[in-house]
């Protein structure tokens, strides 16, 4: 379509186009959120009556044995578990050593001064 547009038309098309993108995305967000809610609601629905008749689980009286190669507790300061796991994996990878041959004593978040 080889027609020249005037500036006013172009401005209207540009604003409308941007608005359509936002509107489309907003509706999509709504759909995605609703789908997520429906699915999480299904997941949290209690299992059928069979579960009610099930005997209560026996509490663990004995602490679980430590994994082989465990070298004591790791202290985390302002560091979530997932970040800590990632840091340890990166360090092991960089040092090219198996993770169970390394001992991490603590991981602390560095706060910028």
């Amino acid at each position: 379509m080889e027609f020249k547009m005037n500036v006013g038309e172009a401005l209207v098309d540009a604003v409308m186009g941007y608005a359509v993108v936002f509107l489309g995305i907003a509706l999509l967000v709504l759909v995605v959120v609703l789908t997520g809610r429906i699915m999480s609601a299904k997941k949290s629905t209690p299992a059928p009556a069979a579960a009610e008749n099930k005997p209560a689980p026996v509490p663990l009286t004995r602490p679980e044995p430590e994994a082989p190669g465990t070298a004591g507790d790791l202290k985390l300061y302002d560091t979530p578990d997932r970040d800590a796991a990632m840091i340890m994996a990166i360090v092991a990878n960089e040092l090219k050593m198996p993770l169970n041959e390394l001992r991490f004593i603590s991981i602390r978040e560095v706060h910028k001064k």
Partner: protein, 400 residues
């Protein structure tokens, strides 16, 4: 048999002679441009997978007498008054090797196939975990419409302006598909501008990010994203494809293929197909796409003032897309009480995953313990969907 006459005849018919007749010098200039592009692709690693192919296509098409690509055949193909209007048969009969490969671009086949591969390589998990980041993908389409408006001001017709604007979507296949449908004559410069600027994202974005955000905003650490279940990941492509295509049917080739590729990835029962889409299919199509797009840079059409305007508008489009994403990122920072780092807004320009990496690097400069990558991947993949919607709108409004 006169040896001298034979040698003279060979010389006169050689491609070298072509450089000295008519506009032959323009071919020499284009060969130099091809060499610069090859240098950028090979030495500087600017999107090498596509730029090397585009540059070599540019080289081949500008060698006089090679006859691999015939612009005049495609002019007839597009001319409604020609007996060969929309005749692929004529192209197959008369065309050279690259004319035949170019059919895949013209028909919109290559960009769509590449989108299957892109979908198969994309993890939409961060986007599903934080659907708000969809808005950043939408905001970063600002450059598309800004550049469209700028192109109209510079005298481009509406359809051409739309094709130029989509460079701001920072999505190569989307730009190629839109341009093929709206302004095929501008395909060469638009594709080169789009891929070159995508490679330059680490240079284009950081100064804008630093100018529009404060140190405090850049240092914001975002909360861990929630786990996304496998079922959610399987349902996502089905829901998005159905919804977006119903809303804007002209997005069907891009969104349909993107989500189909993603479904192959997430089902867990189509690993072989997912693997082919991510690797073999993607590589083969990239190979054909690069060479055939590069071949459209015929000297007589490329060396014009319009090309310079497109290159300038492409840069403006990228910059303003980044600005749009950052401004909405700042708005979300305010609304969330400082929980959202506005830098992730800049990743809303697609360019997956380069733009997300830039957000990560800039965030970490402000706060060494900052890990924004996964948070930036949400807007980044939302940008792919956003640019497909923007392209769908422009195709709908300006398509024949």
């Amino acid at each position: 048999m006169n040896i001298l006459e034979t040698l003279k005849g060979l010389w006169m018919e050689s491609g070298f002679m072509g450089f000295f007749s008519g506009d032959g010098w323009k071919s020499l200039v284009m060969i130099a441009v091809a060499c610069v592009l090859l240098y950028l692709g090979i030495k500087k690693k600017f999107e090498p997978l596509l730029l090397v192919g585009i540059a070599f296509g540019c080289l081949l098409t500008n060698l006089p007498g090679a006859g691999l690509y015939h612009m005049e055949l495609w002019d007839e193909f597009l001319n409604e008054a020609s007996p060969y209007y929309h005749s692929y048969g004529h192209i197959l009969k008369e065309g050279g090797l690259i004319d035949i490969l170019y059919i895949g671009v013209k028909s919109g086949l290559y960009p769509s196939l590449i989108f299957i591969g892109v979908g198969a390589m994309t993890d939409f998990g961060p986007l599903i975990a934080n659907p708000k980041s969809f808005f950043l993908g939408a905001a970063a389409q600002f450059g598309v419409f800004f550049a469209f408006f700028g192109a109209v001001l510079l005298g481009f017709p509406g359809a051409a302006a739309a094709a130029i604007g989509i460079i701001g979507g920072a999505d190569g296949p989307t730009a190629i598909l839109t341009c093929t449908l709206l302004a095929p004559a501008l395909l060469g410069p638009i594709a080169i501008a789009a891929y070159s600027y995508m490679a330059l994202i680490p240079m284009i974005q950081p100064p804008i990010m630093r100018a529009l955000t404060t140190e405090k905003e850049r240092a914001v650490k975002m909360e861990q994203l929630r786990e996304v279940s496998k079922t959610e990941k399987i349902v996502f492509p089905i829901v998005v494809a159905g919804f977006v295509i119903l809303l804007l049917p002209s997005t069907a080739p891009l969104i349909g293929c993107l989500m189909f590729g993603n479904l192959l990835r997430e089902t867990g029962v189509t690993e072989r197909l997912s693997d082919v889409a991510q690797n073999a299919l993607m590589n083969i199509v990239t190979l054909f796409l690069g060479v055939s797009v590069g071949a459209t840079t015929v000297a007589g059409r490329f060396l014009t003032l319009d090309t310079l305007k497109i290159v300038a508008l492409g840069l403006i489009a990228f910059c303003f897309s980044t600005v749009g994403g950052l401004l909405v990122g700042k708005l979300m920072y305010k609304l969330s009480g400082g929980k959202i780092n506005p830098l992730i807004g800049a990743a809303g320009v697609s360019a997956v995953p380069m733009a997300a990496r830039v957000a990560q690097v800039e965030g970490q400069k402000a706060n060494p313990s900052n890990f924004l990558l996964m948070h930036a991947m949400g807007p980044n993949v939302a940008g792919v969907i956003g640019s497909a919607i923007a392209a769908g709108f422009l195709i709908k409004v300006f398509g024949a």
